[in-house]
């Protein structure tokens, strides 16, 4: 038995791969659910109902999907150019913190203030990723390590700020940052739910990223640099400039996720505001095979699992950590599935 490279990937295969991966992950996780003494079908039924069974459930799921779309885009953009940005979590938090800090006392009308705050969050994320990128370009420092470790530094920094200079004096001692001025809270998309217009911003971002990657010179050059850096350099594409561009875009998207989450959902920053949006973004990007449109679908799936798992846990007693297991398993099965989109087994 051996692997043989496929001549071309058909569209059907490209779509089937993530579906097969998700299915395989669910089957594998079913074993764990059964081991917890619950019928997996019942559990998955509860999960589905919890995420999609009511109007409220759907809006909750979409609220959860919003930052995932953005962090997923951040990872997809970077990975396409072989820039391994594992720092989405840190960029998310820094974007959120800067948004709360500036948004607390900006003093301009909302129509100007909201875009300004989003730009600030994006700038913070972009700046955070440019450090590791410069280190890689200059000295060959592995950005997997630097971006990953920066996450912890940023979260500790956020902790320092919300216990210190940016602490909310009205929060009865809770470790929570000063809130964003209520004028800059993103309007609700559906009344009396948490769903806000951030979802539309995320969808617009996905469309924009698709346009950039698929239709612009920068997009083609990014892909060339990722697929064959030597040939790209030979063709006159400046690798440092391309990678810096990618880093700024990727960091900005993750920073935007943080800004939107603060303005749309939490209002202020805590060190627990993200249930791992940055890391889950990596899974989203991989499930989407780094395709911006796929990112939206993958984010919906991951959000469904996370939101549904809470409901399932309440109904069946299976720990909600099963959500993390499913998401992690789907990353692994997707990696296998990706192998089969470009290779076939031959005897």
């Amino acid at each position: 038995m051996r692997l043989e490279r496929r001549a071309d990937m058909s569209l059907a295969l490209v779509v089937a791969a993530p579906l097969a991966a998700v299915l395989a992950a669910l089957v594998l996780a079913a074993g764990l659910i059964a081991a917890a003494g619950v019928n997996p079908l019942t559990a998955y039924g509860e999960m589905l109902r919890g995420a999609l069974g009511s109007r409220l459930a759907v809006t909750e799921m979409l609220t959860r999907a919003t930052p995932l779309i953005l962090t997923g885009l951040a990872a997809a953009v970077a990975f396409r150019a072989r820039l391994w940005n594992i720092g989405g979590e840190g960029q998310f938090y820094l974007g959120a913190l800067v948004t709360a800090w500036i948004g607390h006392s900006l003093g301009v009308p909302a129509l100007i203030g909201i875009p300004v705050l989003m730009a600030c969050g994006m700038a913070a994320g972009a700046l955070l990723l440019s450090g590791p990128t410069i280190l890689r370009l200059r000295f060959g420092v592995d950005e997997v390590v630097t971006t990953l470790l920066l996450n912890f530094i940023v979260i500790l920094f956020v902790g320092l700020m919300i216990e210190g200079p940016l602490k909310d004096p009205l929060a009865f001692g809770w470790p929570q940052s000063v809130p964003v001025d209520s004028a800059y809270r993103l309007p609700d998309l559906v009344a009396r739910t948490r769903l806000h217009v951030g979802l539309l911003i995320a969808l617009a971002a996905a469309a924009l990223v698709w346009l950039i990657l698929a239709r612009t010179v920068f997009g083609v050059e990014t892909r060339a640099a990722g697929l064959n850096a030597r040939a790209a350099a030979f063709a006159g594409i400046s690798l440092p400039r391309t990678l810096m561009g990618v880093a700024l875009l990727s960091g900005a998207l993750a920073g935007l996720a943080g800004a939107v989450e603060v303005m749309g959902v939490t209002g202020s920053v805590t060190t627990t505001m993200s249930p791992g949006f940055g890391y889950a973004g990596i899974v989203v990007a991989m499930l989407a095979a780094l395709n911006p449109v796929g990112v939206v679908c993958a984010a919906l799936f991951v959000a469904t699992v996370f939101v549904g798992a809470d409901a399932m846990s309440r109904a069946t007693g299976v720990p909600s950590f099963i959500a993390d297991v499913i998401v992690a398993l789907s990353l692994l099965t997707m990696l296998v599935a990706l192998l089969f989109t470009s290779y076939r087994i031959r005897r």
Binding site: R2, T216, V217, V220, R223, L227, N228, A231, G236
Partner: protein, 505 residues
């Protein structure tokens, strides 16, 4: 019966493609058989069937009279067949001895018998005249030495039949000659050898018998002594192929002038005080044994390695520090040495590759957006004009054969009407038909007044195409000689570093 190996009526299909069509072949004891054919003729597929990597759809393989079970490399090894692949299968971080032993010991055995293995390896290495240091790391060996390790690996497993897939593709000429001497010695020891090749001169020089494959069929079998290169070329290509001939014409003013150029790579001098000029309508050939600075010269003229000192003037303008993009804008076109590593992004489409160098020019983009229809039309035109087979503008370029990929890269270069062309090993790895096309295109560009610098390790190619020739030795260039005065002896001396008035070595 003196046949040690026979392939009987082998047929192998890959989907609609018939890679081998009813092919039969036999190998006698102590014989060197050349399997000759163009790229894509089915040579490698046939050898992979013989070695058990593929299972044939029809037909059988007999080794020493016994039929081999299909699809089992281990059975082939046990029957005494050893294969040396074109791309080596060695672990660079292990020693020579480890690589040779790898896979030859049972996994269940706890202690490995290194001392015994070492003694056996040394014995084999001495008997067949293949010197190696068993303890040196493979990563530190030269390509020729690695190939030696591959051969030793096969011999260590008691191979009586050795198959070499394009063994000289990665070797410089002296190394190739040494290899064929070694093979000859092995046949005198009773081994039998099949080597795959598309190079006529080495088939003529090294084989006893030639089998010619074309389009998956065995079209002819000849005793080497009773055939000629011309006949083999015709059999291989299926029609008469003649490499085009250069005609003298008037040569213009200097276009590219290098004066006293030094190039450093990682602190080491790769080009040392190099001066040359290429004139309009002229091909300047740079010959030399590989590894003497051709890489640095190629990088310099591609814009990837700026000169540390000295100047590089194109049409009166200093272009040494412009980088690839600036150089292209200044009118330079570059055919890279390694088309897979540098010339093309395999996973991208033909149109993306065709326009990658000039994507930012107004012809192919507006306000940062790619003009896709213009780019596709350009690629389609290149495919038509340069006769690129088996491709549309949407084909991913890695699916093209080497020759077709090279035609596309050449087309990308020539379409801009370049003032200067760097052609770095433009025909390496190509078959006769494609070589003739590449030569024709280069001569046509010369006739239109382009200044061309040709870096080649194939002396015949350099002599046939070039108006003047310089040798590169240890990063230095000899004085140029006119092609008419360059006989083999003189070039040989130049490549050895002996030239008038000084001794570069």
């Amino acid at each position: 019966m003196s046949d040690v190996l026979s392939l009987c009526r082998i047929t192998k299909r890959f989907g609609p493609l018939i890679a081998n069509d009813d092919v039969s072949l036999s190998l006698r004891r102590g014989e060197i058989l050349a399997l000759l054919g163009e790229n894509g003729a089915g040579k490698t597929t046939l050898m992979n069937i013989l070695f058990g990597h593929y299972a044939a759809d029809e037909g059988e393989v007999r080794v020493f009279g016994e039929a081999l079970p299909p699809g089992k490399p281990r059975a082939a090894i046990e029957a005494g067949v050893g294969m040396v692949h074109q791309h080596f299968t060695l672990a660079g971080n292990l020693s020579v001895l480890d690589n040779v032993m790898l896979g030859s010991e049972p996994l269940t055995q706890l202690r490995s018998a290194r001392a015994t293995a070492r003694a056996r390896l040394m014995e084999i290495s001495e008997r067949f005249g293949l010197p190696v240091d068993p303890e040196s790391k493979v990563a530190r060996l030269s390509v020729g030495e690695r190939q030696r390790v591959e051969i030793l690996k096969a011999l260590y497993r008691d191979a009586r039949i050795l198959i070499l897939d394009e063994p000289t593709a990665v070797l410089a000429r002296p190394e190739a000659q040494r290899l064929f001497q070694t093979l000859r010695g092995m046949t005198e020891n009773g081994l039998s050898v099949i080597f795959i090749s598309h190079k006529l001169h080495e088939v003529m020089a090294a084989s006893d018998r030639v089998s010619v494959l074309r389009g998956g069929r065995m079209v002819a079998e000849r005793k080497t002594a009773e055939t000629t290169p011309a006949e083999l070329a015709e059999l291989m290509v299926g029609r008469k192929v003649e490499r085009p001939v250069r005609h003298d014409h008037d040569i213009g003013a200097p276009v590219l002038v290098a004066t006293g150029v030094h190039v450093l790579e990682e602190g080491e001098t790769r080009l040392n005080d190099v001066s040359f000029q290429v004139r309009a309508g002229e091909i300047l050939g740079i010959v030399g044994v590989s590894g003497n600075g051709q890489g640095a010269l190629g990088a310099l003229l591609s814009g990837l390695a700026p000169p540390a000192s000295g100047s590089l003037i194109l049409d009166g303008r200093d272009v040494g520090h412009l980088g690839p993009r600036g150089l292209i804008r200044a009118g330079a076109a570059r055919v890279p040495e390694d088309r897979h590593a540098e010339g093309a992004v395999g996973e991208m489409t033909v149109w993306e590759n065709a326009t990658l160098e000039r994507l930012r020019s107004p012809a192919f983009s507006t306000a940062g957006f790619v003009r896709r229809s213009a780019a596709r039309a350009f690629a389609t035109e290149l495919i038509r004009r340069f006769d690129v087979r088996g491709a549309t503008s949407e084909t991913r370029i890695r699916l093209l054969s080497g020759g077709n990929m090279q035609k596309l890269i050449l087309g990308r270069c020539l379409s801009i009407g370049p003032r200067f062309i760097l052609a770095n090993q433009p025909t390496r790895g190509l078959d006769e038909g494609a070589i003739a096309t590449v030569h024709e295109e280069l001569l046509a560009a010369r006739a239109e007044g382009a200044a061309i610098l040709l870096i080649s390790e194939e002396l015949e190619e350099a002599v046939n195409l070039s108006d003047r020739i310089q040798a590169i030795v240890k990063g230095r260039l000899s004085q140029p000689v006119a092609a008419g005065e360059a006989d083999a002896r003189r070039l040989g001396l130049m490549m050895a570093g002996v030239w008038e008035g000084e001794n570069a070595a």
